[in-house]
C-alpha cells in the first residue's frame, strides 16, 4: 500500500535493513486474515458458481463488497483512530486483501474474450472497476461520517447531562 502507510509498519527508514521491517507478529496477523479471507471467497464461489460464458457475478460481488469494507476500515484506522496495531495487517492486508482478487477478475475477462463474449468481457472490466471505485468512495464517505455522528451524539449527551443542576 503506497498511499496510507501505517505508522507501526513503516516508521523505519530506507537505510535500515529490510529485515528490520518484518515482524513475526504482523506476518502472523496477515497469514491468519489471508486464510480466513481466501476461504470466505472460495466458499462463496462454491455456493454461487457462475457457469462459463456468463457474467462472473460472484467475483464481482466479492470484489465490490471487499472494496467498500476496506475503504470503511482504512478511513477509520488511518483518519479516525490514527493507529491500528494488528487490526490493519489482519483485517485490511490479510482478510480483505485475500477476500478480493485481481487475478480471477483478469482471468474471467480473458476467458469471456476468448469465448467471443466481448460485451460481457467489457462489462466485467468496466463494471467491476466502476462499481469498485463507487464502493470505495462510499466506504470512505461513510467512514468519515461515522465519527462526526458519534461525536454529535456524545456532545448532545454531555450537554443534556450538564443541564442537570
Amino acid at each position: 500500500m503506497a498511499v496510507d502507510r501505517d505508522a507501526d509498519v513503516s516508521l523505519t527508514t530506507a537505510r535500515e535493513p529490510f529485515r528490520s521491517r518484518v515482524h513475526g507478529r504482523l506476518l502472523a496477523a496477515v497469514a491468519l486474515g489471508g486464510l480466513l479471507g481466501g476461504t470466505a471467497r472460495y466458499g462463496l464461489a462454491l455456493a454461487f458458481p457462475t457457469p462459463a460464458g456468463t457474467f462472473p457475478l460472484t467475483t464481482f460481488a466479492v470484489n465490490v463488497s471487499g472494496a467498500f469494507l476496506l475503504a470503511l476500515l482504512l478511513v477509520y484506522l488511518v483518519e479516525v483512530r490514527r493507529r491500528s496495531g494488528s487490526v490493519r495487517p489482519f483485517a485490511a492486508v490479510g482478510f480483505l486483501g485475500s477476500y478480493t482478487t485481481y487475478s480471477t477478475w483478469m482471468f474471467d475477462t480473458e476467458r469471456l474474450l476468448g469465448g467471443g463474449h466481448c460485451t460481457l468481457a467489457v462489462l466485467n472490466v468496466l463494471g467491476s472497476l466502476l462499481a469498485g471505485l463507487a464502493a470505495t468512495a462510499l466506504g470512505l464517505a461513510v467512514g468519515r461520517r461515522v465519527p462526526a455522528v458519534a461525536g454529535d451524539v456524545r456532545s448532545r449527551f454531555r450537554n443534556r447531562f450538564r443541564r442537570i443542576p
Partner: protein, 122 residues
C-alpha cells in the same frame, strides 16, 4: 474438505507473499505510485494464467489447480487495495498517476494472464 483446507493455507501464503513483496518494493522504491500492488497484481495474473494452462494441457490435477489458482493467486492479488489506491491518488490530486495506475494495471494484467496461459499451451 482437503481442498478447502488447502485453499485456506495457500491463501495465507498468498497474503504473506503480497505483504512482503509490497513492503519490499516500498522499501526499495518509495513513492506515491503503488508499485507494490501493481507488481503483485500483474505477477499474480501471470501465475494464474500459467496454472490454468498447466491444468488444461499438462494434466495438472483439478485439486492442485484450485488450491494454487483460487487459493494462492486469488489471495496474493487484490482488488480492494487496487480500488482504494486509485481513489486515494485521485483525492490527493494525483489524477495522472491514478489514471496511469488504473489503465496500466488493467492492460498489463490482461496481457499477463493471456501470456501465462499462452506460455504453457504453446
Amino acid at each position: 474438505m482437503i481442498t478447502l483446507l488447502g485453499v485456506g493455507a495457500a491463501a495465507a501464503l498468498g497474503a504473506v507473499a503480497r505483504y512482503l513483496l509490497d513492503q519490499y518494493v516500498q522499501y526499495r522504491r518509495p513513492g506515491a505510485f503503488p508499485r507494490g500492488t501493481w507488481l503483485v497484481n500483474i505477477s499474480g495474473s501471470f501465475a494464474l494464467g500459467l496454472v490454468v494452462g498447466l491444468g488444461a494441457r499438462h494434466g495438472l490435477p483439478e485439486q492442485v489447480l484450485t488450491i494454487v489458482g483460487a487459493g494462492f493467486c486469488g489471495a496474493y492479488t487484490t482488488f480492494s487495495t487496487f480500488s482504494h489506491e486509485l481513489v486515494r491518488l485521485y483525492e490527493q490530486g494525483q489524477t495522472g498517476k491514478s489514471l496511469l495506475y488504473g489503465a496500466s494495471s488493467l492492460l498489463v494484467g490482461l496481457a499477463a494472464v493471456t501470456a501465462g496461459f499462452a506460455v504453457t499451451t504453446l
